[in-house]
């Protein structure tokens, strides 16, 4: 017969009796926000010393600089009708890049959709980004998903899925597998403060805690879920406070401060991997961009509000730090920005001319092998397209080539 491990405490609660009937206050826990760098790019007096070396700092800065320019150009390309959709990381570059930099390459990344900077930090190339956005035949995802749905097995970056929060319990499961295998690695899972309302958030955090999975739950609290402000999303103290309810450690960090994000995630990673335990990290920043190219924030927030936060730029703050450290040359920085713009433009011109994926990719990967009924549907489709080639220009000419 199975033995109850803890007969004193079958409810698994703290034993702390009281004769005073008093509410626990809903604000009993107020989580502090960890900071290091002020807006002038100087460490706060009494701030923790930074462990970020020059090489890492340069790589982080270059990634943020690249993503800022890339996002601008791609949004412009969307406005010109060259790509169908786009999402910017604007305002959250430090949170995403700093967190990715604190990981090891073997650590897995489950992102939401606004974390292109983490993928860039890992080494995803400009061309690879571009092919995905143009859903052409060189896109790893074979042109099946909307722009910004990146993924790379080689870089340990799970392919983006549009449904919100579904990656949260998946990250717990992935991390559990890493633990069983003895990888000494962890999984980071990004999501927004809006997605943290999904049932999958509860499922994922509770399971990671119960099953001791080394998972870093990285909540990007950026103030908005499309139009819905955080004040209409939850009543509690942000997202970090919820960790306590799951018996999990938590950190809250200034998401505009890349040094602070880096230190926080480094500490969390070390704890998670050493102790096989999840950690919830909440980054506080502001979604400066629209939710996506389909969204127009003028319908729900004031320009003045945006301008206030625009002044609090994560890249500018870090740039000042880099200059003060002597790790960045202003002239070289400007030249690099111009070069990125030119590179992005030429990569864009190349990617938009690359052919769409071959028609047969419409039936592959549904299963490992293409079953008979799909082979039949493919043949019928092919014959149909050959009959009306002008109606299906992206694929018709290529079928004729191989006919």
């Amino acid at each position: 017969m199975a033995k109850l491990l803890n007969v004193d405490n079958p409810n698994n609660t703290s034993k702390n009796d009281t004769l005073n009937l008093e509410f626990v206050d809903e604000h009993a826990l107020a989580i502090p926000t960890f900071k290091m760098l002020d807006d002038n790019g100087e460490l706060y007096k009494d701030a923790q010393a930074s462990s970020m070396d020059k090489e890492t700092a340069i790589r982080i800065y270059e990634t943020m600089r690249f993503i800022r320019v890339f996002d601008e150009r791609m949004l412009a390309a969307q406005r010109q009708g060259r790509v169908s959709f786009y999402m910017q990381c604007l305002g959250e570059e430090a949170a995403v890049t700093g967190s990715a930099a604190a990981l090891e390459d073997k650590d897995m990344i489950f992102a939401q959709y606004r974390e292109q900077a983490a993928l860039a930090y890992r080494g995803f190339t400009l061309e690879q980004f571009m092919h995905q956005n143009f859903s052409n035949e060189k896109d790893f995802g074979k042109g099946r998903q909307m722009p910004i749905h990146y993924g790379s097995k080689g870089l340990n970056y799970s392919t983006i899925s549009s449904p919100l929060g579904t990656q949260i319990p998946q990250a717990a499961g992935y991390a559990y597998g890493q633990k069983l295998k003895g990888d000494k690695a962890c999984t980071i899972c990004y999501f927004g403060e809006g997605a943290a309302s999904e049932g999958d958030f509860h499922a994922g955090l509770n399971m990671a805690a119960v099953h001791s999975a080394p998972t870093l739950f990285f909540a990007r609290n950026n103030g908005y879920a499309i139009s819905t402000p955080a004040s209409e999303q939850f009543k509690g103290d942000g997202i970090a406070v919820r960790a306590v309810g799951y018996g999990m450690k938590a950190l809250r960090v200034d998401g505009v401060d890349v040094l602070a994000v880096y230190e926080a995630v480094k500490k969390a990673r070390e704890f998670a991997v050493e102790n096989n335990a999840p950690v919830l990290i909440e980054s506080i920043a502001y979604r400066l961009a629209a939710h996506s190219s389909s969204d127009d924030p003028t319908g729900y927030r004031e320009k003045e509000e945006e301008e206030t936060f625009r002044a609090n730029c994560p890249i500018e703050r870090f740039r000042r730090y880099m200059l003060k450290q002597g790790w960045l040359d202003e002239a070289e920085d400007e030249a690099a920005k111009e070069k990125i713009k030119a590179d992005v433009l030429s990569a864009l011109k190349v990617a938009e001319k690359v052919a769409k994926p071959a028609l047969e990719e419409i039936v592959t990967d549904v299963y490992e092998d293409v079953p008979l009924h799909l082979q039949k549907q493919y043949e019928q489709l092919k014959q149909h397209i050959l009959k009306y080639p002008e109606a299906y220009p992206a694929t018709a000419s290529r079928i004729e080539e191989t006919k």
Binding site: S135, S162, A195, A225, V363, A394
Partner: protein, 325 residues
């Protein structure tokens, strides 16, 4: 009469229902001050206040669970699921709760006051997760009414009827036509009965059947076929569950041929259910096998959207196959 697009027609039906029912509530992700990502609920919060028109946290299972409770209490609950592709976290609440509330309680309780609005369908470069037509999952669940408008006029009348219905309704809005479908729509209230198909065009040689945005594909295909001298009868099913077998079978008895078209994948789709029922009802009148023109049995792709869709050309080919059988 006023010129309205489908969004304005839906907005008008909602506003009228909220005026008539002083407790009716509209809620969902971004539906409050912003008026929804498609702006279908635009201006409603201003008119009816934050207690009755509100943003919810981003949790579809919560929205539908909350809606079930609110409807059971007697309030007209009108939740929005932002995209039909995102209805699945609420699947349990809809399939096991909404659909069974009346039956399991012996009619002690019901959620007949519930109308779930959700944009569905493809043709907007939405890829896997902004294109799906998930009606078959729900058609397989007894207890739900599934309603599909094809244009602005139909949208207002069918939504008004859904809001009056004493059974829970999922109102699937063809987002491809939200702004594209513009027509004369009465400013006042009118209803179009649920459970009743409409013969959109009379014809003698073949019956074409679809619902929602897909009716437009039938119309284009019928126009092509008419140049070949083929007379098509076009039927808009309008309510997928429970569906109007009578109107469809009467038409097929007359024409002897049927093409059913849906956006969703072929296998297990509602077109298959229709084909099975009609061969049963009309077996001796059929001149050729019932044709189903559907999406492929794959997830909805982005780059190959055009190829994937059950477009008018595929419907036209099916018409010819049926006629020349």
């Amino acid at each position: 009469m006023a010129k309205m697009n489908m969004l304005q027609a839906i907005n008008s039906a909602l506003a009228i229902a909220m005026e008539e029912n002083e407790n009716a509530c509209v809620f969902g992700e971004d539906v409050g001050a912003f008026g929804g990502v498609f702006r279908a609920t635009s201006g409603l919060q201003e008119k009816f206040g934050k207690d009755r028109v509100f943003n919810t946290p981003l949790v579809e299972q919560g929205i539908l669970g909350f809606a079930n409770g609110l409807a059971a209490q007697g309030t007209l609950a009108i939740p929005e699921i932002q995209f039909a592709d995102y209805i699945f976290p609420a699947f349990d609440q809809i399939v096991n709760e909404t659909a069974k509330f009346r039956f399991r309680s012996g009619n002690e309780f019901n959620v007949g006051n519930l109308v779930i609005r959700t944009p569905y369908g493809g043709g907007i470069h939405g890829g896997l997760y902004h294109s799906q037509s998930p009606e078959a999952y729900f058609a397989h669940t007894p207890g739900l009414k599934l309603v599909f408008p094809r244009n602005a006029y139909q949208a207002k009348g069918l939504l008004a009827a859904s809001l009056e219905s004493n059974d829970p309704v999922i109102f699937f809005e063809p987002k491809r036509l939200y702004r594209a479908s513009v027509g004369d729509v009465p400013e006042g209230k009118y209803t179009i009965p649920l459970g009743k198909a409409e013969i959109v065009q009379q014809g003698t040689d073949i019956t074409l059947l679809a619902w929602g945005a897909q009716v437009e594909m039938l119309e284009k295909a019928a126009e092509m076929a008419s140049k070949d001298g083929i007379s098509c009868e076009i039927i808009d099913l309008r309510t997928v569950a429970p569906w109007d077998v009578e109107t469809v079978s009467q038409s097929v008895i007359k024409t002897g041929r049927l093409v059913v078209s849906q956006e969703a994948p072929l296998t297990g789709g509602f077109a298959s259910e229709i084909a099975a029922t009609i061969q049963d009802e009309c077996f001796l009148h059929l001149e050729s096998p019932i044709e189903r023109v559907c999406g492929l049995d794959t997830p909805y792709p982005l780059a190959h959207e055009k190829e994937y869709m059950a477009d008018h050309l595929k419907v036209y080919e099916a018409i010819k196959r049926s006629i020349n059988y």
